[in-house]
């Protein structure tokens, strides 16, 4: 949105910059060419690395694309058959539901904990900078390493978490081995992974709220919770919408954590659309069906992206 507003301002300022009308008529004056040349690298980049994969993914989902295709290049056109396969498969319903639960659960957890920590670190105290840096660790750790570590932490018999809970007399919880608990365990780990992202962005947003607002507010009696609701929250809203929308887009496609922790099991309890897409493509070698799954995922992400853009447009218009 920033760049959009800049561009529009730019145009407004430049138009009054009069040039002879004759020059204006020529379409390819030097300035226009310069402008185009600046846009070309970005444009090429977009086409090569975003446009091509998306188009390829869409065409792939309409083809019978298998291992054979890689060698022969032949992929018979099958129309919407892959989508029919996807939607009629027994796992589609549960996978959609799991994707929704996983995304909503992760986002709520990450956001609430992330906001709490951001507010906490917004006050300066000894070692606060160091502790905030330590919070970034989950983000820096490769997800494969993180999930392998969590897998041993969550082990039913010898995992450190159950041993810890055991000291309080809580019986061993089958974190990754019970179909009714596994999704919760996966969500917990994903919340852990997502907290640094939320803290970092929200902390940045909090730093931008002018101190004077709080000073003025406190004169009128707005302190503590009141200050949070009436000063912090409204001022943080733009950052919050960025965090939430990016959070949804990142979370909905999470694959490595689930593969590392449960591989979609036990008994398909942690199958999500992303996992289905991976397994169809790289386990069953049904790349067309896998592409159909991932297109559904892209479509859902797109809906959130549009909601986000519209919400921002309204904010700018106001």
């Amino acid at each position: 949105m920033t760049s959009q507003s800049l561009h529009s301002k730019d145009v407004v300022i430049q138009t009054p910059r009069q040039k002879p009308t004759a020059r204006k008529r020529s379409r390819f004056d030097k300035e226009t060419i310069t402008k185009i040349l600046f846009v070309v690298p970005a444009g090429l980049f977009m086409v090569l690395y975003f446009g091509y994969p998306v188009v390829k993914n869409i065409t792939m989902s309409l083809q019978d694309y298998t291992t054979k295709t890689f060698f022969t290049g032949e992929a018979p056109w099958v129309g919407l058959q892959n989508y029919a396969t996807v939607i009629s498969s027994n796992l589609f319903g549960p996978a959609m539901l799991n994707t929704a639960l996983f995304t909503v659960g992760s986002i709520i957890g990450q956001f609430v904990i992330g906001l709490g920590l951001a507010v906490f670190f917004n006050r300066r105290f000894p070692l606060s900078g160091f502790l905030r840096a330590m919070l970034l660790l989950p983000w820096l750790l490769p997800l494969i390493v993180a999930s392998a570590t969590w897998r041993s932490i969550l082990d039913q018999d010898s995992g450190i978490l159950n041993q810890f809970l055991g000291t309080f007399g809580i019986p061993a919880i089958p974190w990754l081995t019970s179909p009714s608990v596994a999704l919760i365990a996966v969500i917990i780990v994903n919340i852990w992974v997502g907290i640094p992202f939320n803290v970092t962005l929200l902390y940045g947003g909090l730093q931008d709220i002018p101190e004077e607002l709080y000073e003025a507010g406190s004169l009128d009696g707005a302190t503590g919770w009141k200050a949070f609701w009436h000063i912090t929250w409204p001022n943080l809203r733009p950052v919050v919408s960025v965090v939430l929308v990016l959070g949804v887009v990142y979370t909905i496609k999470v694959l490595d954590i689930i593969l590392g922790l449960t591989n979609g099991g036990p008994a398909n309890a942690t199958q999500t659309i992303a996992v289905r897409s991976y397994q169809e493509s790289f386990v069953n070698f049904q790349f067309g069906v896998g592409a159909a799954f991932s297109n559904i995922l892209i479509l859902i992400s797109l809906v959130f992206a549009i909601i986000y853009l519209r919400a921002n447009r309204r904010a700018v218009d106001e």
Binding site: K30, R151, D157, P266, F285
Partner: protein, 427 residues
Amino acid sequence: MPPKEGQASNYQLSKGATVKNHAKKHLTKALAVAALVPLALTACGGGGGGNSGGDASTLTLMDYYNNEPDNLAIKKEIESCASEIGVKIEREAVPGKDLIQKVLQKSSSKTLPDILMLDNPDLQEIASTGGLVPLEEFNVNTDGFAQGMLDAGTYEGKVYGLAPTANTLGIFYNKKLLADAGLTPPTTWDELKSTAKALTSGDQYGVAFSAIATYEGAWQFLPFMWTNGGDETNLDSPENKEALQLWKDLVDSGSASKSVINWSQGDVKDQFAAGKAAMMVNGPWQINALNENKDLEWDTVLIPVKEAGQKPVAPLGGEVWTIPETGNKEKQAKAAEFISCFTRDSTQLSLATQRNTIPTKPELADEFIAEKPDMKAFTEQVADARSRTGKLGDGWPKAATTIYTAIQLALTGQASVDDAFKQAAKG
């Protein structure tokens, strides 16, 4: 606030532009062109690297032995065969899980290596794409290999891949724990259940196996299923259900951890090595890791049969070496020479000894057991072991998925043993 700063600098920029002369514009244009250069360069860079041309003095090779001690053992044998047939070999060892993706990428960019190693259940899938050439075209002798291994390397009646060594599954048992309890290793399912039960106490389970939701889980189930007369062509059969019932009984009675549904074979080995399981289903590739623990005394026996007198049927593991369709006949002929050298008797024995695998020629069994007595149980099984893709070919991945899903459904109580295969087949 960031937007304001941005706007401010923009005012300046546009004001400046109106004032300054054209020289500045030329500079900006030059900059814009310069920005394009790296992009153009990378676009050109992608094209090279093909291997269809060139003489046959250098061959490329791809395998997945990127861990020690396999990496060094394989490297040594590759080098010795390379010098013998007079070529230079450029080897690329990729992580196991990435191999198939690499192969597919290289097939679409026509840069397949001259010699390619594949995990045996993947061979038919890759051969069906037309990406491999039959070994008979280059007169590779396929006599004397175990039938199961040839089945795994065969697609539509032609042999595409040969393996120097193989592996399979057996029961590892902790000698000390069994001796202390006065027990002998089990030979039947009933004995397996009672022995495992007797060895379960505290945080020690009687037996460990991998029932994970991947092909590993299906692979570990196969010896029980096949030994009982079950078959992958008819999954919803009484024989398969009986085998599944055995696993369910082991877990339900507490003789095996409920975590088996999330354990890979590596995890199973860790449990056994840590003394948390008295017995385990696993393969000889774990032996090097087990021997690192000097206090651990173990031995192996065949997978138990349901009733005494049944013949154990073990699944055959191991990697086959193939010649991709690169279009360069000269190099393919050299690659064939390499595969003949790499799968001959002396290489088989050398690799089997170093890697704790089993020669794929049954006639080498006696010589091998004499050298490696602790490999006896595995070696006996390999002669009659069965390949996973022998019956279903490229239909195996689907059957394997059904098998591991059925196991997961039954062990977690989501479906009865009776319904598990039926429900899993619905996908």
